[in-house]
Amino acid sequence: MSYFGLTGNLLDVDLSTGKTSVSKVHRITYRMFLGGRGLATYILWRELGRKWRQVDPLSPENLLIVMTGPLTGYYPGIKLVVSGKSPQSNGVVGSAISTDVAYALKSAGYDGLIVRGASKDPVYIYVEDDKVEVRDAGRLWGLKGSEFLEALRKDLGRDLPSLYIGPAGENLVRTSVVMSRWFHAAGYGGYGAVMGSKKLKAIVVKGSGPLPKVANPEEFLKLRYEVLDKVSQRKTFRQWGTTAGLWSTGHDTSSEPIKNWIEEWHDNTEFSHVVMERKYWVKNPWADWGCPLACMKVSKVSIDGKTYYTDGPDYEMGAYLGSNLGVFKVEEATALSSLADELGLCGIQTGNALGFALELYERGYLSREDLGYELSWGDFKCLSRLLEDVAFRRGFGAVLAEGTYRAALKIAELKKVGVDELLQYAVQVKGVGVGAHGIRSRKDYPQPIAYAASVQGGDHTSVAGLPANSEESEAWAVLIDSGVVCMFTAIDDTTMIKYLNAVTGWNLSKEEFYGVIAPRILSLQRILLLLGGSDVVWDPRKHDDNPPRFYEPLPSGPYKGAKGDSEEVKSKLKEYYLSLGWDELGIPTEETLKKLGLYDAVEVVRNLRKELTT
């Protein structure tokens, strides 16, 4: 029997020795973990699980995993998952990125790539079907995004699918990303720094073969056109993309980060997608491989004689580097997004850390002496300078380069103030800055436990919720990221599972997915998250919670006064854990582990529970 929809092969590159090899993944392993995020979690558990807490995410011991899933290439829209032990959460984050590397890997004959060890000198990995080379990247190291793409294109004589890091990843900045195609990033997790720690500038893939055959071609084509037709009807999304959120998430649903989340509502019509559309979009719509939606745009703005390019900017980047920093000029938010892309910084995580610093500055915890310059809300000049300082770990930038949570620890130490006092202003969960969707107004999609219970911390693309066996729960993100497809072209769980079966020939049911497969993947992620280390370990009694800010009342807008309710959060957490077969601390019970076939986790979990209850 062959692997329908899958190649069954993983490429393994050891940068310490320069050796490459190909290994087979058993069909049963795919059936248990699907692919993408699920399979990456399993590999990390298998290879590093025993010593997880000792593994420094930025040491050669960590693995960088790049994974497609059974739906990659077949389902309209394209994504790839980047994973490893996260230098932000110290757990596993399945970080999705739109990139043509995804189909190219499958065309080259691999479902994924595992990079281990670390090189002494800068290198990049070049894959062309069965030819795999570790090439010198000396002259590519240090280049910003667009410079890198230009140099690579000249070198190779053409454009090829690539993943790469900017200076931020090279400098081991924890808020750095893995980039692709100029503006695309695997943001959450901080895997740019993992690539940097391995001295790996890029992964370039050329595949010339076909994608593997599907199990049921007729059903596949039927479903394919069903999805194409539905998704291509999402006309407003095509016209404005997520950029529309700059206006609507603030104005309509009061859930947009404004000045480090002090507010979540605005009424500033200049801060909107329509202004971008009228003045700055030079290409709209723009699409990724196989995508019938085309939510992207290319924007071009000029400030002080300098030209900046980015996409939309997409909502998250625009909000976090715009309103969250008090920037309400769209051209400035666009320019800051462009800078982040060029430097290889995550707009969300870095914008979160910058917002935190701005508030501390305003409150007098930080001063001009710490920064070397004045900091103020909405000041484009100082903010663009601070972004650069973070990417190059210059001056105070080195503190913020650790991400909001770790920066709080450092500042507390430097300033001799209590950590909890500073953490009041840190809008993050388990080392991960919360995505740009608040929970206070309850008019946006995340539920009160969205971030508190997520196995990926503040990740807005992997939010927890009730009921646990529905698209409201984190299981839905597991399906999307293990499949691996784009959340914007996804229709619903029924279609997705049918699609999976048509491609792979499985007989997966919704019940099995929600009852066994999703809990299996989430349980492993949860265990690894609680193991944590090597620097920080999370305590569920303390850290399974919203950032303190979400318990403060909204100060303005139609939902003024709305705030999180900690009793409600506690009781919903309990309910959520119970439905996943976890105990009141959110640790999977022995019975659950056995039911999920995770026998080798029983011992680890016993120790975890002992540690937390004694």
Binding site: P210, L211, K213, K283, D288, C291, K306, Y309
Partner: protein, 161 residues
């Protein structure tokens, strides 16, 4: 006919092409290729059936002939030796030599109802249109290497500093 402004770079045309011809998703074997040397500047490229068919004339084994139905260039897989003459003769370098094929790949207009055009319109991008018997000027405008077209487009879309 190709409208570069409308092309989103989605490559659904490539996918439709190989699903139709090979029953597989095989981006490298597509008869229409979308290049994107500069992000944001996609350049779809496909055979536009020049009136003088320089490729047909250049073929030493007579593997290429013109279809009387559609005007497309048809490849006789048994005769083609992959010598590459047609690729050189084509003003756009369009015929493709692909790993896994013993003959050159050229758009056959799907017998007159091209899958790529249908796909592109189906999702509402409308960057491709089929035109019967185009005038020679239309053709001259499209039969160029993608890099050349991309340079022009880049200037207009992305512009300078």
């Amino acid at each position: 006919m190709i409208d570069y402004n409308l092309c989103t770079g989605c490559r659904l045309c490539e996918i439709a092409c190989t699903l139709k011809h090979e029953g597989l998703i095989w981006p490298d074997a597509s008869r229409i290729k979308v290049f994107e040397p500069y992000p944001g500047v996609p350049v779809p490229q496909v055979c536009v059936q020049c009136p003088d068919y320089p490729c047909v004339a250049s073929c030493p084994t007579k593997a290429l002939k013109v279809s009387d139905v559609s005007g497309a260039v048809l490849v006789d897989s048994a005769l083609c030796t992959l010598c590459g003459n047609c690729v050189k003769a084509c003003p756009g370098g369009i015929p493709r030599i692909v790993k896994g094929f013993s003959y050159v790949i050229i758009c056959d207009l799907c017998g007159g109802d091209p899958a790529c055009v249908k796909e592109c319109s189906r999702v509402g991008y409308n960057a491709l249109k089929l035109i019967k018997k185009p005038s020679s000027t239309t053709i001259k405008l499209y039969a160029k290497p993608p890099e050349v077209i991309a340079e022009d487009l880049k200037e207009r879309v992305l512009g300078g500093e």
